[in-house]
């Protein structure tokens, strides 16, 4: 196009355009015109019905624009009502089998537990205290944070205009990561091409230290994070602005991601829960099951836009973090209706966290 930078050498553009060369194509026949006409119709309709709105804060695309043909209605379905609907297990055909090395699994379902706002601060307080008690070892340079989990997921897959539910069967996932986040290894048959796994190391051609951030934190980054819940929450809101379906949900998800596949210092670990307690809309779900089949109590939040609830599951007695999962609790329309209430779209149980001395070494 007309905007190639002078600072990218032609050689680099060449190699890179080869990599992405097949990711460009025309819209399917007739779709360009179809969308253009619909856009014009919507513009004309909006012109008639509303004065040009002084657009509010620099918000990114709203979730309700995502699926334009559908009315933007949030169904006032409570979790309790949804819980009554039992969802059959759907088996996808293995014909277009998933990744090499991992068979498609059955679509995971669960009964949707009732959510309550009662006791949220108390529960998170206990969890936070338990987390502060636990001893988290320090990671020395040259060592690696090892996290082993069991995980599975369900997602929509579209092949030739046909969208179906597909799932990754429950499988083991192992991650090694150096404290500075520059060296790592991943073994996850849902991601890897081969059984040996793949590198997560980051050779930087300029010798720059790769920047860790909230979306991709290294151990060192976590160790430096503030443990003041208010400051941490403010930082999360600021740095995730414009991401996700809503600021509150994105904050919750960000904290969840920091819990899931990491081994933060105990002080921060504890602070994460006190931070979560300050996010509006957090609920308690009494009955939740992690990917390893362990039951517990969950701290959760419903994403209004997707109708999915993210649940962090804790041992009922020790308040130890067991794992997290995402459950469809509200019915959606269109293609998203394929993901019925009760479907577990993602689940991950932490089986082991340790500090080891080398990549591919297990405790």
């Amino acid at each position: 196009m007309n905007a190639n930078t002078s600072r990218q050498s032609p050689a680099e553009r060449g190699e890179d355009s080869t990599l992405l060369s097949r990711t460009a194509r025309d819209l399917p026949p007739g779709r360009h015109q179809f969308h253009k006409e619909r856009l014009m119709a919507q513009i004309h309709q909006e012109e008639r019905t509303t004065a040009p709105a002084a657009a509010p804060a620099p918000a990114p695309a709203r979730a309700w624009w995502l699926r334009l043909p559908r009315p933007a209605i949030t169904l006032p379905v409570t979790a309790a009502v949804v819980a009554a609907s039992v969802v059959a297990v759907v088996l996808t055909s293995g014909r277009e089998a998933g990744d090499p090395g991992l068979a498609d699994g059955p679509v995971l379902t669960t009964t949707v537990g009732a959510a309550s706002t009662k006791g949220v601060p108390q529960l998170l307080d206990r969890i936070s205290l338990a987390a502060a008690d636990a001893s988290h070892p320090e990671v020395k340079p040259g060592q690696f944070v090892y996290v082993e989990s069991r995980t599975a997921g369900t997602y929509l897959k579209t092949v030739d205009d046909k969208t179906t539910l597909a799932s990754h069967a429950l499988h083991r996932r192992q991650v090694w990561m150096s404290p500075d986040g520059t060296r790592g290894w991943l073994i996850d048959p849902a991601v890897n091409d081969g059984p040996e796994g793949e590198t997560l190391s980051l050779p930087d051609e300029q010798g720059n230290t790769p920047e860790a951030d909230l979306n991709g934190p290294s151990y060192d980054y976590l160790a430096r994070l503030t443990t003041d819940p208010d400051a941490l929450l403010a930082k999360i809101y600021k740095e995730t602005e414009g991401q996700g379906n809503s600021p509150d949900q994105q904050a919750f998800t960000t904290v969840g991601d920091l819990l899931g596949e990491s081994y933060p210092p105990a002080e921060l670990y504890s602070a994460l829960f006190r931070t979560a307690a300050k996010i509006p809309g957090v609920v308690v779900v009494q009955d939740a099951v992690d990917a390893a089949g362990r039951t517990g109590v969950a701290v959760a939040r419903l994403d209004e836009a997707s109708g999915q609830r993210e649940e962090w599951i804790f041992d009922r007695k020790t308040y130890r973090f067991l794992g997290e999962r995402t459950v469809q609790v509200e019915k959606r329309t269109g293609e998203d209706a394929l993901i019925k209430p009760g479907t577990v779209t993602f689940t991950s149980a932490v089986m082991e966290r340790a500090i080891v001395d080398a990549i591919k070494q297990t405790p």
Binding site: M1, A3, T5, R7, Q8, S9, P10, A11, R13, G14, E15, S17, T18, L19, L20, S21, R22, T23, R25, L27, P28, H35, K36, L39, M40, Q42, P52, A55, P60, A61, W65, L66, L68, R95, E96, A97, D99, L156, K157, T158, V159, D161, A190, V191, E198, S201, L202, P203, D204, E205, Q206, N208, P210, E211, N215, G216, Q243, N245, T253, F346
Partner: protein, 228 residues
Amino acid sequence: MEVSTHLRTRVRAGDPTAFAELFDSCAKAVYNHAFRLTADWSTAEDVMASTFMEAWRLRDRVDPEGGSLRPWLLGIATNTARNQYRSNRRYRAAANAAAAAELSVPDHAEEVAGRVDDRRLLARALTALAGLRRPEREVVALCLGEGLDYEAAAEALGIPAGTVASRLSRARGKLRALTRDAPTGPAAGTGAGTARKISRGKREGDRPGRQTRDDHAPVVRPAQGGNR
């Protein structure tokens, strides 16, 4: 595609024909960009449609001065796709499934070799994109997929150009690692000349051979020279 300040003025003023022109000139770019961020052509179509509607809503924030509106649209598309793929693991799952689907289509004897290679290249691209973190993938899609320069990508993402540069550099290193062991299909056009100069141990990989492959070149070169 040359967009004048005149078009910017008309877009700001909410002239519907300006949006029609914008759609004609940029729909494909937005669609392709959305695909790279969602790994799904039909989702990409939804994101594309939403992007233009959102652009209409945000029209009064367009700077009257400036060049092409494409970076602006691609930025809106990036946000829209982000909402669709909140978490990286969802993207990974979809991208890897799509890659597998491309590869699992049975090779019919009548399917020409080029078509088979197209599928492999697409699968490779998706697998590579899935190996990136979201912020890296967005920069890769903008700079390598749509050919934006750092300033334009920075404008699209609302981040400093220096951040774009460092993310892209980091992503390149990752892409190199992710695609290191496998050769590509015939390197078409621009890539072949340069890439062929590089000799690497594994360029003729262990892929089951069916058709002649005499023109292979690695997707990425080993580290050398910065892009700054």
